[in-house]
Symmetry: D2
Subunit: 387 residues, 4 copies
């Protein structure tokens, strides 16, 4: 098959930040084209978005049900190949389920669902129907994060001792005057009905958790969480810290806050093993620090001649031309698209292509949310990580 | 008009780094689609590239002459709107000239041409034919570079005293064994017949020069250059430093080297005035440092609430999500496309949309090349900057 | 009075790192001279050290008891003014007690003692005898740490939400071959008989705890600790993390590890409040970052014209001349010495001079050690901070 | 001999920054004691300084002539061993000459003298009288600068191609109101009668020049200088840039400015060779970056287990405890003192002890001043470096 993959989109109407990001990520490598959408609960707004995207009006739908049923009814060489779902959390499960049931591959924004049970259902559905599923944990799309995982998995740090991961943001550090928080476009983040059990832990804690497990190659087995509603009036946690136990005996600390005033988005991970340590942070995304006992630390760089196949595969330009957030996002799309294409063509994707977050990451993310909320309410120190 | 702009491309065949970059930059915002190309001097290779890009074969041409004449003959609602030229330097002038003569807008990689005279000819042609021209001096596409220029132009630094600009690279620090340099795909960079009068000064010196004039808002009036062929066997300068005089009495230093072993691509600019100084470097592209007498330095950031309209217009994601080289490149494409669209629709682009490097930057860049080569050969300290 | 203060020293013989540091810190400002010592349990080694320090042999003593009794017997204008105690932890209490009982002011290395009870006894003794006591929590001696505390206390960050403090080291990341750990000069750090209840928590956790309370101006009220003996064979915790509750409702996280392979000594503190946040780390000791909602972050610098009286008082050279660990250490000595001198002369020291860690910091540090060890053994999440 | 060396001082009275720095540097390691001084042209002020330093009044002298003659007349076991001269430039030569003529070793602040001829005379005198001479080019006292030189001299970078050195300051970026500049305590810096031929080039350009030659191990053979008096009313250059040629065919750029508004004191050196490059800057003084072709860059650190004997010898505390400007300064004093002591004791100092700037550095520094001033006035591009 020699053609672009056809993408549909649910959500991403006027004012949506993450919808625009998904579209840029999909566009970047010229391997995907947007063909249809239900961008908003208002059909007018949806059409407005479609017009800006040069989409033909007959592929704009009133809602995800219509989109899926009508696309499913189109001829195979016309209908969308996969659906990108970029709605608020409470609108993840239903469209994803319907898409999978109708044979469409799915890209879904994180966290996967509102409950662990729902996440497991999507996992089962995707497996049963042999469909490709990508959960956009953006940060593991960075070349130097992939290099970090690669190096750890090859044992260069030796047996892992410790994992620190943090995700400080400041954008929720005030409530805003005149109920601003309850009425802003991003108000769903702090609304239990739309965001789920957790606020900061679902929004950014899941990213940090995914980063910790991805880079270390370890799985969390128990958590001790302290969650806080710092800003008066806030209805969900806006801050939290979690002590972690991993399966190999290693331990860790996860910190996520949306009231770290003045912080932007500098997710950071550090992993220490018997032989060495590593450090990566989004703000200097193209650098991976390797630290050693009794040897100089080393600066690994995106595009470096010495990096492994995973980092190389996810790099577009030579060393010294910074690749950023959108490229990391596009890496997930590109790898997902390659895997879908391989699936369509009956081919086997490479390990590098298959390296994007899927249903397992999503299920574990929801287990994280449920575990830390449960731990936050508990007087016991340790709560088992139940998945 | 509500449609994507149609782009043709000359150059950018198999193995071309800069061709791929132009395509990603053009794709990113979904406002441009590639419709035709003459990607290589080999038609077979050109078709191979076209296939990977899902281009129909009837829009692949044997050479730029055929491309331009056949596209010009297509119906208006089908033919390309503009031509991107991503060939080595010696193949810039002819296709650009022909495209302009046939009414096509042009995106051209830098440096503009081989001689100042050619650059002036393109400048005249574009003006006569009322066509939009973009010269891809990538680095001035970064939001924080635009913010720097904006702040200087508003006088926040006061009267400008000093400009330092540097562009250290290390990729030419050896010649390679077995005439590797003469036979590699990038060999044209060091070949006088293909690169022009200058090596490093044309390749990266022009970027540095453009950065210095763009950010400071000043124009160079005299240069004192020391150019070197450091690596034995090298046929063009691979290193150089230039003392600068500016029109307002300020002075500067420009350093460009391709034998700074271990350096990647960290172009950096510093401007100092009576009231304060600023510093930007590509390696921390989303940060602009403002330095003051007797007040704490400030860290301006891409996406910051306080940045001006030029930076805002060229930013895609909220603060803390790093934007990189490809986004900077895409900013030029997006602004160029908006300007072309406005031209087609008879509208007036905004100042922010018009802020991309055009023929004037190209002409001054070629004057820079000729001035520094002349100065390099002179025993006099100062050589007037002749344009 | 116009003379140097006379210092005695217990500990700090051949091979002692911290003894040398204390002497440099005492020397630096020319206000203190070393006059006597019991540097080692071996009198020969003690004399060897004395010789290198140009001390007369008749002021070298066999042990701290002899030192204190003989110095006390000297004429007032000859005997030492204060005693610096730089021995391993288990040898802190007895000489400090005896010195205080004999009217000598005391400088003591941290942690204060082996038990909280001992610490309280020293606290009482110093108060009863009206003696000056300095506990060398070095890191709060840095000018930019003092500036941080100053700014927080003035309310520039608003109500405090969150405190993160971390102290990662890697020097204990292996046990060493052939029982190296048990027999090295620094073996006492990991020996329960000599170090006390805690390993890493006493060694560096107390520094981190002191930093958190000092900068935030808050007091910890409850802890949730996970302490680990990571390296096989280790007899005390070599790693730990502690969730913190503060009196004002703020929360925090303290991380201290001596198995963070490749890390040196980069203690770091971050404090976030309603209006802004701040960040300081030893590795860039002369910089204090101030972060704001909707305004550019600011870089406060040692020696900056805008810093407060506490930072100014503790700075020796103009901005841009880095001050380091030894200067921070010397700041404690200088402030201690000024306070002793004021005491001798019946004068009142300034607030800036009085700003060095004393018995209260020591008592709270020992309460920290006992609280986190107790919490580490508990299955309950929260353990009250008992002092 | 087992005693502290006895130091005299000329200059360093009330308000003197550099005098205080010299005294701290001399104090730090407990190997030197200040015994006498002529701190000011006013005897009263001199006595005031002496009192603060706990010096006995009979060792305070009216001027350097009296100091030298009376000290020379004292018994050998009482009189000063060496003289530190910390006066403005125009008062360097005479006291240094007289001290050398009377058999005293000398520490002298930079630049050495007002003229090259004077510098040569001091050089001859010191050699004839077999006296130790230290010129306090502080920045080469940093451990990581010594490591840089060590690595270059061992050939790890291969044949050297390029040297960049810069020293940006901002403290002279305005003239000040009401003739402030002419009447401030530091006014001598910009006064031709007191500072010499050059302003910024003597003040900081000589430091940069010394750094370039020290680290690269190369000698400058020709210069092309552009010197500027940027601020209206300024009587000497406050800014300049110099293109450099070195004996081995390498080239370089030296930039020094005192009108780089907002800059503190961040002297920085970069050296590139065929195999790799290195970078050091004062603001991150304990880090030396090593950059390589096709291998990760390395971070060398003060106190690292892997550093060479020169860096080790000049380090006081373990890695991760920042050493700063005062320690760098103290390294020169300590090495000078060791060399004087060896001279007194008839011993041979180690290569590490001998590694401090002496008369050769001073002579070359004055040749630099004369060469760049001459070049600045010339219309020829290149001026030979005449020494």
């Amino acid at each position: 098959m020699q053609r672009k993959l056809r993408m549909g989109m649910v959500g991403g109407g006027p004012g949506s930040f993450i919808g625009a990001v998904h579209r840029i990520a999909a566009n970047m490598d010229g391997k995907v084209e947007l063909v249809c959408g239900a961008f908003s609960s208002s059909l007018d707004k949806s059409k407005e978005t479609a017009k800006q995207l040069f989409l033909s009006e007959d592929r704009v739908y009133a809602n995800y049900e219509e989109l899926i049923s009508k696309e499913a009814a189109l001829p195979e060489d016309e209908r969308m190949d996969f659906l990108s779902i970029v709605t608020p959390n409470f609108l993840h499960f239903a469209p994803a389920k319907l898409a999978l049931e109708n044979g469409f591959h799915v890209v879904l924004d994180k966290p996967m669902t509102i409950t662990l049970e729902e996440a497991k259902e999507l996992d089962s559905l995707a497996k049963q129907n042999n469909l490709v599923f990508c959960l956009t944990h953006t940060y593991t799309g960075y070349p130097m994060v992939k290099e970090a995982r690669d190096l750890v998995s090859k044992g260069v740090l030796g047996n892992i001792y410790k994992v620190y991961v943090e995700y400080p943001q400041g954008w929720l550090s005030t409530f805003g005057a005149d109920n601003e928080e309850l009425e802003s476009p991003s108000s769903w983040h702090t609304d239990p009905a739309k965001s789920g059990l957790a606020g900061s832990m679902g929004d950014i804690g899941t990213h940090a958790f995914n980063m910790a497990e991805y880079v270390s190659g370890l799985e969390v087995t128990a958590v001790c969480a302290a969650l806080n509603k710092v800003v008066p009036g806030r209805r969900l946690d806006d801050d939290g810290a979690v002590l972690l136990q991993f399966g190999n005996g290693a331990t860790g600390v996860l910190m996520a806050s949306q009231v770290a005033t003045g912080e932007e988005n500098n997710i950071k991970v550090r992993v220490y093993g018997e032989k060495g340590g590593l450090e990566w942070q989004q703000d200097i995304a193209n650098t991976l620090l390797l630290k050693w006992r009794d040897k100089p630390a080393q600066i690994y760089r995106t595009g470096g001649a010495y990096v492994g196949s995973f980092a190389k595969h996810n790099t577009r330009v030579p060393a010294g031309h910074p690749e950023g957030y959108l490229e990391a996002f596009a890496n997930h799309y590109r790898n997902f698209a390659s895997t879908v294409l391989a699936s369509i063509n009956g081919e086997t994707p490479s390990a590098e292509e298959l390296d994007f977050p899927g249903t397992k990451a999503g299920v574990r993310g929801m287990a994280f949310v449920e575990s830390v909320v449960s731990s936050g309410d508990s007087e016991q120190k340790w709560t088992p990580f139940a998945v």
